[in-house]
């Protein structure tokens, strides 16, 4: 059940009505409605994995309590590592086992030892990377005594399984979400209205921008050997907007619908393509994951506090792990590695925190430089996205090689019976709208909101891509 599906359009109003009109007396009844709705939502994907979700929830709930109750440090450590190993064990088996088995076999084959890996025929449970990380952050926070364990199982289950964030984030923190589910929510019209606006804008990003860009990006990436330089460059740009529209659109829908239930979720994107350097990009892209890795990996490893060697090591670790989190493929690791390379000069020159405020442009020379910085950061990002999108690293290198060596910068008719340049106007309009609303959550609220809402709805129905339906990219992670 996708957020942009017909079945979800039935599901959401029913849950909304039950939540505010039938079971609105206490926080417990409100939470009970949401947890039942969340489990139903998850079971629509694959009911068999509901048991995995419930088990994972129970494990972290129980180990959290046991860590807090443990009388000795050894006991605390025992429950902590039990939770960590089981959580990562599930993730490892379902998501990474085949990758490791295959890579190990290839390594042995490289040494002349012929082996065939024992691969498991398993389906990746949807959202496993997200809800595992929810649970991990909760247990780590209890172990580090940042929070108290939650004794109410329904409240804790809702923190892990709340349907807007269940399958593709944002990755919530117990410190942020749990306090909200511990109190009865009252209806707030302004918040709900903002939620509708954010949901609609997310839908624009998904069906108008992401799915349309996907049609072109797929035609280019899948036939890159016959594409000219211009097509290949546009392919990378279209994919950049596809993945941004897809993931940030999903996040906007999740945040927007959550506001309908009176619950705020963590912001996940903050106009990342207007970043002036890669460090700023990573403060604005998939913020809940970046901050998760910062808090639970980078800082425990020593962060930026040690010597240069330690900083470099930690930077590479966090980017490589971040790449690997996205999927069990060398292309994602390469993508993480490239981003680490981009980030490194900023770190070494201590410029990684030089662009903290929202970008502003004026009609002066300094702004030209800022504009060029934005363009060059976007270009570097697109180059890295090629590795993210390609099926293999070899394919990514061939794509880039052809992009710079073909030398033809002309229009090209593609396999999807479209010209390579056709989407440029739509992408440009999207960029202008995003630029003008970069200090807001979404562009609809404010003056003329009915007009803007009407334009967005018209764009969704008239410009959206429906027949060539694309799943949300991040569901596979």
């Amino acid at each position: 059940m996708f957020f942009n599906s017909f079945s979800f359009a039935i599901f959401l109003p029913i849950v909304f009505l039950l939540y505010w009109f039938v079971f609105n007396k206490t926080k417990s009844t409100q939470n009970a409605v949401l947890i039942i709705a969340s489990y139903y939502f998850y079971s629509c994907w694959d009911w068999r994995f509901l048991f995995l979700l419930v088990f994972s929830t129970f494990l972290d709930y129980y180990t959290g309590i046991m860590i807090e109750k443990a009388k000795t440090e050894l006991g605390r450590k025992f429950w902590f590592w039990l939770s960590i190993s089981v959580n990562l064990g599930f993730l490892g088996i379902f998501k990474y086992y085949n990758f490791f088995a295959d890579s190990f076999s290839q390594l042995l084959n490289g040494f002349g030892l012929q082996t065939s890996p024992l691969l498991l025929n398993v389906i990746l449970p949807v959202g496993i990377s997200f809800y595992t990380f929810h649970g991990l952050s909760y247990v780590i926070d209890i172990y580090l005594k940042r929070i108290k364990a939650e004794f109410n199982f329904v409240d804790y289950s809702l923190f892990v399984s709340y349907f807007p964030l269940l399958v593709a984030g944002p990755i919530e923190r117990a410190t942020h979400l749990l306090p909200q589910v511990k109190v009865k929510r009252s209806f707030d019209f302004q918040k709900a209205k903002e939620g509708i606006f954010q949901f609609v804008w997310g839908l624009v990003k998904k069906v108008v921008i992401a799915d349309t860009c996907a049609t072109y990006a797929n035609a280019i990436f899948d036939n890159y050997e016959s594409m000219n330089s211009l097509s290949l460059m546009l392919g990378a740009v279209y994919f950049a907007f596809q993945i941004y529209g897809d993931f940030s659109g999903y996040s906007d829908m999740a945040l927007g619908m959550s506001k309908l239930f009176g619950i705020d979720l963590l912001r996940n994107f903050n106009y990342p393509y207007f970043s002036r350097d890669i460090a700023e990009f990573w403060r604005r892209w998939h913020i809940s994951l970046s901050s998760w890795f910062r808090d639970y990996l980078y800082i425990p490893l020593g962060g930026s506090s040690g010597g240069t060697a330690m900083k470099v090591r930690n930077t590479f670790i966090i980017f490589l792990v971040s790449g690997f989190w996205h999927g069990a493929n060398w292309t994602f690791i390469a993508w993480g590695f490239i981003n680490a390379l981009y980030f490194l000069p900023l770190l070494l020159l201590k410029k990684n925190r030089s662009n903290m405020e929202t970008v502003v442009l004026y009609w002066d020379f300094a702004s030209v430089r800022v504009f060029l910085n934005i363009l060059s950061t976007f270009a570097l990002t697109c180059l890295a996205w090629i590795f993210f999108r390609a099926k293999t690293i070899e394919e990514a290198f061939n794509y880039i090689k052809r992009m710079f060596s073909d030398g033809r910068f002309v229009s090209q008719y593609m396999e999807n019976e479209r010209y390579n340049y056709e989407l440029l106007v739509m992408v440009a309009v999207f960029v202008v709208v995003e630029w003008n609303s970069r200090t807001h959550i979404e562009p609809i609220s404010g003056k003329y909101s009915w007009l803007k809402l009407g334009l967005c709805l018209a764009a969704i129905v008239a410009l959206g891509t429906y027949s060539d339906y694309k799943e949300f990219i991040y569901f596979q992670f």
Partner: protein
């Protein structure tokens, strides 16, 4: 909450109005179109006179060279539609008759398309802009399981078939951008020397008593049109070639030309001949049916 419910109702009303307005705009544009494809070329046309009209799928569109008919003095147009089934062929013929076309002969490709009565989404959708304007189109779609949505929900058809009749296509219709579909009097030549998949497996296909073929026969009989039904060539590396014999058992009047063009060099892919193969095949058809001024009724089952 009351405020929110009013806001939600207003938003839904706004959405509904947008759907109605957009539906009206798109339909208006499609009602002016006549140079994008064969369906609008027929729908928005005045009466036409033809000696020969060719109908069918891509195996008609790519196989009947209209120029060769015209050289014989036969006014011909190839209305074969790539990807089309008999569902669309039948509707196209109904529209021609409704527009008072005078047609002496119809050559219809009836072979693999006999195996189903489903609509071909990509082609059938091109009739949908006219569903409110034409009773014929409405009636033809009335048995479809999504008819209610297609007919009663404004703009639904343009959303559901956005790749075929969505914004991009509407815009090109609006600016009267031409396509290649109507060039060469509808014949689409496939390049000689270009090789596609030269294997085919049609064992899963079963010819059936096809209601749309029956409709076409009835229309031709009612309007005094000479119907020539043919099965067109397919490459020799096809599994399940007995399909054509089975089809002939159900419909003995269909002329079987499945094996009249031999050799992979005449094919662009297993089911589609290239221009050279199409010319060879068309010449055979002309010789068999149009060698005299009056079309011959060829002995069936050759």
């Amino acid at each position: 909450m009351k405020q929110f419910l009013i806001f939600t109702v207003k938003t839904l009303v706004l959405l509904f109005l947008l759907l109605v307005v957009l539906d009206f705009m798109y339909t208006t544009v499609y009602l002016q179109a006549s140079n994008r494809g064969k369906i609008d070329y027929v729908y928005n046309s005045k009466p036409r006179i033809y000696d020969v009209v060719i109908l069918g799928s891509s195996r008609a569109n790519n196989h009947f060279v209209t120029q060769l008919f015209q050289e014989k003095g036969l006014k011909t147009f190839n209305y074969g539609m790539s990807g089309g089934h008999l569902f669309e062929t039948s509707l196209l013929l109904k529209l021609m008759v409704e527009r008072n076309y005078t047609i002496k002969n119809i050559i219809i490709e009836t072979d693999l398309n006999l195996s189903n009565e489903h609509r071909a989404e990509g082609i059938a959708s091109k009739f949908l802009p006219y569903i409110h304007d034409s009773n014929l189109v409405k009636e033809h779609f009335s048995g479809e399981k999504d008819f209610w949505q297609l007919y009663y929900i404004p703009f639904y058809r343009y959303i559901g078939f956005d790749a075929q009749i969505g914004f991009r296509e509407m815009f090109f219709n609006f600016i009267h951008k031409k396509t290649a579909h109507l060039q060469n009097s509808g014949y689409a030549a496939l390049e000689v020397g270009k090789k596609g998949n030269m294997k085919n497996d049609i064992r899963a296909l079963k010819p059936i008593h096809n209601k749309y073929y029956e409709e076409i026969k009835q229309i031709c009989a009612n309007n005094n049109i000479n119907l020539i039904a043919v099965m067109t060539p397919i490459c020799s590396n096809t599994k399940g070639l007995d399909y054509f014999e089975k089809a002939n058992k159900i419909y003995p009047e269909i002329h079987n030309y499945e094996n009249v063009v031999q050799g992979d060099h005449y094919f662009s892919s297993c089911g589609h001949m290239n221009d050279a193969g199409a010319r060879l095949f068309t010449a055979t058809i002309i010789k068999d049916f149009f060698s005299l001024t009056k079309p011959l009724q060829r002995k069936s089952g050759q």
